[in-house]
Symmetry: C2
Subunit: 695 residues, 2 copies
């Protein structure tokens, strides 16, 4: 652990120098509060807890050692009562869904393996018992699952089926004679795979299987299945394999499980959404098999919600490290004979500051997502529609933020050069661990496709009962707010709060309201275009229809991404509007502009081709981004300090102030040498070269 | 090791079905020859050697175990005479510079740690002795370095200075009384850092230091410095630290070294480009200090050259794995009730095929680079200009291909989902190991800046002696071939071979010659624009001039990147033109088009804003890329098989045919079940839903 100050000493002076006396100043504690969001206190409690080195990752451990360390850390979480907030009071919880996830998301700062292993035990295994089971299951297993007496695996994914859960091969066939379910793996592709807690620690599993009774397959349901005895040996009929070393998250014992005619009592069916009576008759509160399936999966949406928050935290940490180092590290002699600080290079600003803006946007959007999650699962707003909105929003934001994390951590690592590649500076470990976030809890491309289909569905609803003439008129006249209903944070077209209040003297045509229009119009137009092209699908045969969809798949995913980006922009804008301190408001307004314009720059060709931006305005986008980078550069340290990480969360020697000390030592050495008169002279240039230099 | 066939059984049938009887067919052995390039035989020898599992990486080893394994593998390379080709025959070599690198680049398939550790020992440490030293040094140390009797570190980079080598702090002060150099580390930032072989195995180091004699600093020179005794203990005055665990390449013992008044004989100065006589007087065959410095660094360019080849190999391997898996893995029911193969999804094609096209372009461009390297270092074309061209080309191609490797390996890993995250499937290990390739042997951004400055310099040469009116006329009238001279594979404007011969019925305005024009014009215009804006710099003070450069830095780097992309495109086009088999020529022509159009699509907004593409043609770019993906899709397996990897090089269970077997087993299970009449029925939909479905 570095014990020097994290904040470079020269920052305040540098800011004053670079921006003048009247320059705006960021109110760091205020922004920290905003970023920590609705459950700031709980986040602070979690961050305080993980200042204890017992929670930290140790580099260089074997995956076996790392697994044992993380398992023991789970015990510490239980002792701290850190993981049970979501469950009812009578089972040791606090009925606090939003707070539970907020706390959980902070664990990524200690070790992502700890976060995800805790997620397996309590977010998946225990939650399956709670969300899919009923009181008899809670009474039987919930306390043990919460207390870690029953470490458990969440056995949904199979080697042969990941994202397409409905097609899993494992069967649970009801035997009315013994009133038991027979859990069975019919072929190799139906082995459960990639399950945390399966290779070593799990004693039970919540197993997803095709429920068959009376010769009918009622689709995927979940069963509580004991898998190991107290000595850690597999129970009869259960087998498995270790998934071995992974690209990251090696503190988690992922593994495979298979079942050969394993019998469990009828009561082990987690029966909230579907039950089998003793005589084998099936019943469900949800008649539609499709809706029942999606309701069961939807009950487990918290994984996606929390990954959005954890990925945002990881991005913030990477930027804290890279910006701090970039403010201290010097390389190549600049004006005045002094080596330049990295962050004074235009390209270095371009590499880090737009990613910082995106990370802010994500933090604000995540808090809105978490509020929505809390309202649904706490019961304040639990309707079929609000659940569907939550799932769509979680899918969109999780995809964007987990990809952003990989991109940002990698850029931060490169921006720190060779020192960024050392494990001690954390970036490579974060990158490796976060990698799988983009494909687990829903592959990002599959999630974006869900979002895209929802957008298409909402779009189609507008036309119900309209004839083709009306539709044509509608498509032509579409403007913000007319096309979609609430597949996001708010109704499209509901005015984003106080757009007018953040107006500043910016480039003509690139103000907040222009950004909003451009971003909104792009989503609407892309969805309308794809919908228009897919309209003929219903008249085609299945193969041709699939080919048609295929042709439009990439653009549909792009529309879904654009939708997520818009929602993040709106959340950022609302956050800026809610701030009263004028300096802070101004700086965050610039940062929001940087986010918005970076999105527009990224999709510039689209805006040009669709006539939304003139050439002149398009050129102004890049110029204005450059200007915003320059404006924000003096505030970069404040902006990363506002994430509120303590040295115990950062732990990277290059961001500890050690680099600043090295720079000062080197400068002092040369100054002393010069003063002593002992400094060697520069080699004289040959005559010819001198002349050339003069010319 | 998987022992099933790597090639999916159904490929040939599928191709015939999808493309018709007269469809073109790739001549795989022919393409393999082309891809292996000028030193194909030597590459094949290296690939044969590393089929031995003794060369393979073992996942899950600690970094200590991994280091020892790799060190012992270096011994195997010596036994196989695999690493000495570049040196003269009398020191155990073959005077074969191109072949030496070709062989070296293949080692990445066994374990990137092996490749880079070999690179440290023979490409850097031994090469420094050979390239910077003279016969007395060769006689003394070259055989020991080649045979691994003297494991050595290449001590150039310091904690405080990486890319800016000229500014390193270590000093070598000549003492005429004892005729010794005193090697000294004056402050912490001047510790040598990130050096392979420094933490454990190195017995000597080639140390770069400021040469000071007679009170004058003659700049950076290289010295042979023993660092450890035969017991592995540091010699007096030498100290160091282990860099510990890294993000990858953990088979290499990177570490730090520092020197406290360490004395070495005068003869230990590697004196090819600068010498100190016994009396302390300095002499050099190169009068200009700047040119001398760059000549010394340029002598070590082979590292960058070989990274371009190794990164291309790694990308090829990743695509071989992902495309093979994507051709076997099925997910989500498609037309006809059968689950679709991943590679039949439009988005999946879009993810993998353009990256495959880029990898081909890189392979062809790399062979030209290697030829150039061989001509310079073998003496066939060793002029100051050819060296400068080689360095510029290596900088451009190394940047592009190492970033491409990270991007491609990651996309391949995501395209393989959870199984891609398992170490056994190799992608995560490749990704982690290749990470540092983008910042070592020259940070990619710094290298691109070198390329950019060269482009600016060449541009300025055009105007020598011209007045402003002439310049204006020139800029207006600039067309391909008039602006640059040979900073690349060929003179701009020298016609790329046989553009006309590959013409096919493609989209109007997107043929090969159009692609070439668009790519060329972009480089020229960007360089001209930046040059125009920087012209006023000479009239500004240093701070303002730096600010002006800063504003243009991002665009200059982008111009350098565009230059590299153009060179890759040209190399690809030449390779296509050299093929006679019509089917192969057609398929590779499509692949080259996919590469060219993907580049144009990536920079579409630029082409639009600068009036190079109309809206209509711009829209056609994306549509034509989609069409090319569809055309190439049936040939995807052939195209990755043409990389010529044996199962011992691939070693990923998901690309072994195991997935195909699992798919067939599952399909057979369900078919048997259906035939037996024992298959469970589907749940009946509730009445209401049925009605809705009918409507």
């Amino acid at each position: 652990m570095a014990d020097t100050a994290v904040r470079p000493k020269a920052t305040d002076a540098a800011r004053a120098h670079e921006t003048g006396v009247d320059a705006p100043k960021l109110d760091i504690p205020l922004v920290t509060d905003k970023l920590l969001g609705t459950w700031a206190d709980i986040r602070r409690t979690a961050r305080e807890m993980i200042k204890d080195p017992a929670f930290w990752r140790i580099d260089g451990q074997t995956h076996h050692e790392h697994r044992e360390r993380v398992f023991s850390q789970l015990g510490l979480l239980v002792q701290h009562k850190s993981i049970s907030r979501a469950f009812p009071a009578e089972y040791g919880g606090e009925d606090n869904n939003g707070g539970n996830l907020a706390s959980f998301e902070e664990l990524v700062l200690a070790d992502p393996s700890l976060q995800i292993k805790a997620g397996v035990q309590w977010g998946l295994f225990t939650s399956a018992i709670y969300q899919l089971g009923t009181k008899k299951h809670w009474d039987k297993w919930l306390r043990g699952a919460v207390s870690l007496e029953i470490p458990g695996a969440f056995a949904m994914t199979e080697t042969g089926h990941g994202s397409d859960v409905a097609a899993i091969g494992t069967t649970a066939t009801y035997d009315p004679d013994t009133e038991e379910f027979v859990i069975h793996t019919p072929f190799r592709g139906a082995w459960k795979d990639y399950l945390g807690n399966a290779a070593v620690h799990g004693k039970a599993a919540t197993v997803f299987a095709q429920l068959i009774t009376g010769g009918v397959n009622y689709g995927v349901h979940c069963f509580f299945v004991p898998i190991r005895d107290d000595n850690g040996e597999f129970l009869p009929g259960v087998g498995g394999e270790d998934d071995g070393v992974k690209g990251g998250l090696n503190g988690i014992d992922n593994g495979r499980l298979h079942f050969t005619q394993v019998r469990v009592p009828r009561e082990n069916l987690l029966n909230r959404y579907g039950d089998v009576a003793a005589d084998g008759s099936y019943s469900s509160p949800i008649a539609s098999p499709g809706r029942r399936f999606f309701t069961m999966l939807g009950a487990l949406v918290q994984g996606r919600v929390s990954l959005d928050g954890a990925a945002t935290n990881a991005s913030a940490l990477a930027l804290k490290i890279a910006v701090t180092y970039g403010n201290q590290r010097r390389q190549f002699e600049g004006a005045g004979g002094v080596e330049s600080v990295l962050l004074d290079y235009g390209k270095h600003q371009r590499r880090l500051l737009p990613r910082l803006a995106t990370t802010y946007a994500q933090a604000f959007a995540h808090d809105e997502l978490l509020q929505k999650f809390d309202a649904v699962f706490g019961g304040a707003n639990d309707t079929e529609e609000s659940r569907e909105d939550l799932e769509t929003l979680a899918a969109a934001l999780k995809s964007l933020s987990t990809w952003h994390a990989l991109d940002t951590i990698q850029e931060a690592r490169e921006a720190c050069g060779g020192s960024g590649f050392l494990a001690e500076n954390r970036l490579v470990g974060l990158r490796a661990d976060l990698d799988v976030y983009v494909t687990f809890e829903g592959d990002n491309n599959v999630l974006l496709q869900l979002v895209g289909k929802r957008l298409l569905g909402d779009y189609a609803k507008q036309f119900k009962g309209k004839d083709s003439k009306e539709i044509a008129a509608f498509v032509v006249g579409q403007t913000a707010g007319k096309v979609f209903h609430g597949a996001g944070l708010r109704q499209f077209g509901q005015a984003v709060a106080d757009l007018g209040q953040v107006a500043r003297s910016v480039e003509l045509g690139l103000r907040a309201k222009d950004q909003h229009e451009l971003l909104t119009a792009r989503v609407q137009r892309m969805v309308a275009d794809v919908a228009g092209r897919l309209r003929s699908a219903s008249k085609l045969g299945p193969e041709a229809a699939q080919a048609l969809f295929n042709e439009n798949q990439a653009e549909l995913l792009e529309a879904a991404r654009a939708h997520g980006e818009l929602l993040q922009w709106e959340a950022f804008t609302d956050a800026v509007a809610s701030i009263e301190d004028p300096g802070t408001k101004q700086i965050l307004g610039w940062l929001r502009d940087l986010f918005g314009l970076s999105l527009i720059e990224k999709h510039l060709s689209w805006h040009l081709m669709h006539g939304r931006l003139s050439n002149q305005r398009a050129i102004a986008v890049t110029r204005y981004i450059d200007r915003l980078c320059l404006r924000l550069r003096p505030h970069a340290q404040d902006l990363v300090d506002a994430f509120g990480f303590a040295p115990e969360h950062v732990r990277a020697p290059i961001a500890s102030g050690a680099e600043q000390e090295r720079q000062e030592e080197a400068a002092a050495h040369y100054a002393e040498l010069a003063a002593s008169g002992a400094a060697p002279a520069r080699e004289k240039k040959p005559v010819k070269e001198k002349k050339a230099a003069k010319r």
